[in-house]
């Protein structure tokens, strides 16, 4: 496989906002003293009058975003996933979710790949928290191309959207010239008949690599990219369940309440098949280089290969 360019989706976030700022004059960006890290500093530099730094006060920032949205502006409230979804959960729920306001939440530094900062900043629970809010759209893009497309789709969608971005540079595998993004639509990346790997975020490319290894070993694995975890593309999941009879989910998030849970909920209702969940296994992370942590926690192609082989052998 050819070496791909790598880029962190948080950079895609900052760059896309700066680009889209020209086209969408109603777009405003809010930060809580992390504009440098969330990469919205790029937007701030270009549109200083449309960037609002709320200081280290995420709860208030979400309320400010809600207030802006009531007047027709489109605010992107940015912070680390830990604080956007975690600390500010109840404000997101009551001031944004309940009135279904048109606020976009840009949550960077999600998951274990935050790395050296350790467990206090490694948010593996944000998808679970956000997808529990009625009417909240949850998007976890896999690479730069998808992140940019998803951001513009979110601008053109009326309602609250939680968007998850990473700190770690990840391979850009989508073709920017042909890629089309639609909220709520899964993406079939590789067909297969023995098993389906359903992945999200940085695990998508790992799943693609795993499927190639498996193919060489005689296992035909389908790969589906689920960027929109809510609303889930049930059609693509159920089709895979029916046709391959086995699902392995892969996400850089707790196995409680994330993609694996969403997929399980979907298939148990309509087409019960075995779902094996790869993710953070109900533990806290710790400090270390992101790449090492991903391996340690099984968030890598090698573990997908092993997990799939075991699951297929038990089929």
């Amino acid at each position: 496989m050819a070496e791909l360019v790598k880029k962190a989706t948080r950079e895609s976030y900052g760059e896309a906002l700066a680009e889209l700022g020209d086209k969408y004059e109603n777009l405003y960006v809010l930060d809580a003293d992390l504009a440098g890290a969330t990469k919205t500093g790029i937007f701030k530099k270009k549109f200083p009058d449309r960037h609002i730094d709320c200081g280290i006060a995420e709860a208030n920032m979400m309320g400010i975003a809600a207030g802006l949205a009531t007047t027709g502006k489109i605010p992107f409230a940015s912070s680390f996933a830990m604080f956007a979804a975690g600390r500010a959960f109840e404000i997101v729920r009551n001031s944004i979710g309940y009135p279904h306001l048109n606020v976009k939440i840009g949550a960077t530094h999600a998951g274990i790949s935050v790395g050296e900062d350790g467990a206090s900043h490694q948010c593996n629970e944000d998808i679970a928290l956000m997808r529990a809010i009625p009417g909240m759209t949850v998007i976890n893009p896999a690479d730069d191309v998808e992140a940019r497309a998803a951001i513009e789709a979110a601008i053109n969608y009326e309602g609250p959207v939680y968007m998850r971005f990473g700190r770690l540079a990840v391979p850009v595998f989508h073709d920017k010239d042909t890629f089309k993004f639609e909220i709520g639509k899964g993406e079939l990346l590789k067909d297969g008949k023995d098993v389906t790997i359903v992945a999200t975020g940085l695990m998508v490319y790992e799943a693609v690599k795993a499927a190639e290894t498996l193919e060489a070993e005689g296992i035909s694995a389908r790969v589906i990219n689920i960027a929109t975890i809510k609303p889930l593309d049930k059609e693509i999941i159920l089709k895979a369940a029916k046709e391959t009879g086995l699902i392995v989910t892969a996400e850089e998030h707790s196995v409680i309440g994330g993609l694996g849970s969403a997929v399980s909920d979907c298939v148990t209702e309509s087409c019960p098949v075995k779902v094996v969940k790869i993710g953070v296994q109900d533990v806290f992370g710790h400090s270390g280089p992101a790449a090492d942590l991903l391996k340690e926690f099984g968030l890598c192609a090698e573990n997908i290969v092993e997990t799939v082989k075991k699951a297929v052998s038990e089929k």
């Binding site: 405003y28 009058d49 449309r50 609002i52 709320c54 200081g55 006060a57 709860a59 208030n60 979400m62 309320g63 400010i64 975003a65 809600a66 207030g67 802006l68 949205a69 009531t70 007047t71 027709g72 502006k73 605010p75 109840e90 404000i91 009551n94 001031s95 309940y98 009135p99 279904h100």
Partner: protein, 280 residues
């Protein structure tokens, strides 16, 4: 204040109080105490101060109001109904299944409600966002928000207070309803937020105090607030929880309790007598 206007406002405020009692009684639950303490201020805002459009509640240039102490929704609903946003008769449906009048303000369904609130400390942030929005695009509307004195124990209020002063939101007026009581008792006993004025001053706000049940004092305070430039204003209103219903006044037990039939009749008879006196 003009005597005629004052009389009209007193009459309206009395009717608003009757609407509060009507709502809470029919709901068999709700918060009469803190609703009655803000009845005069709300009446002044909606009948003498704010630029609102009952026939077109979402009109872009309207002044905004956020009831940050959302549990006193019966007062807001009663004022909105009397101002013509929806029928006064609808107040009887408060908290009923299928009704628009939810236990706490719901902007999605109730005409005239500018922000959904209820979880304390959150409304003031949204009000700051509305005020900031006007500054960003040179809109001329003003934003008002009422907070409870117990509510300001929430940390988010002070995040918002810092933000409003930093952004020089002189188009924002917050009102702290200082009736001195919260669910667990006197605010000074539970976890005292006093001195409220000094705290807001330290956060960079212009501070005004007023008597919440005297329209001359209310008008004077709001007139002063609108002249303030480059900083937000807070009006700390000294009020009586349960104001207007003798047995509810200054009783913490009436924070979140509905009157029974006998109590309802007594309250309505007191308010009717007062209305008659005013109209007489």
């Amino acid at each position: 204040m003009d005597e005629l206007l004052k009389k009209q406002l007193e009459i309206t405020a009395c009717k608003v109080r009757m609407g509060i009692i009507e709502g809470v009684y029919n709901a068999k639950s709700g918060h009469p105490g803190g609703s009655l303490s803000i009845a005069d201020t709300l009446t002044y805002l909606y009948f003498a101060k704010m630029n609102v459009y009952p026939d077109n509640p979402k009109e872009k240039d309207r002044d905004r109001f956020v009831l940050s102490k959302g549990h006193t929704a019966p007062a807001l609903y009663s004022v909105l109904a009397h101002r013509g946003f929806f029928p006064v008769e609808e107040l009887k449906t408060l908290r009923h299944i299928g009704a628009r009048l939810q236990g706490h303000p719901d902007m999605k369904h109730i005409p005239g409600v500018d922000m959904s609130t209820g979880s304390l400390g959150q409304g003031i942030s949204a009000a700051c966002g509305m005020a900031l929005s006007a500054k960003l695009t040179s809109d001329t509307y003003h934003v008002y928000a009422i907070l409870g004195d117990g509510e300001i124990e929430e940390g988010q209020v002070w995040e918002a207070a810092m933000f409003a002063a930093h952004n020089k939101l002189d188009n924002l007026t917050a009102i702290v309803d200082n009736n001195g009581l919260q669910i667990d008792g006197k605010i000074s006993d539970v976890c005292s937020p006093y001195p409220i004025d000094e705290k807001f001053k330290a956060f960079g706000w212009h501070v005004i105090t007023m008597d919440a049940h005297d329209f001359d004092s209310i008008e004077k305070a709001f007139r002063e607030a609108e002249k303030v430039v480059n900083q937000p204003t807070v009006i700390i209103q000294t009020s009586t929880k349960g104001k207007g219903v003798s047995f509810m006044e200054n009783q913490v037990s009436w924070h979140g309790t509905a009157p029974n039939k006998e109590q309802y009749e007594q309250a309505m008879s007191e308010l009717s007598a007062h209305l008659k006196e005013l109209e007489g």
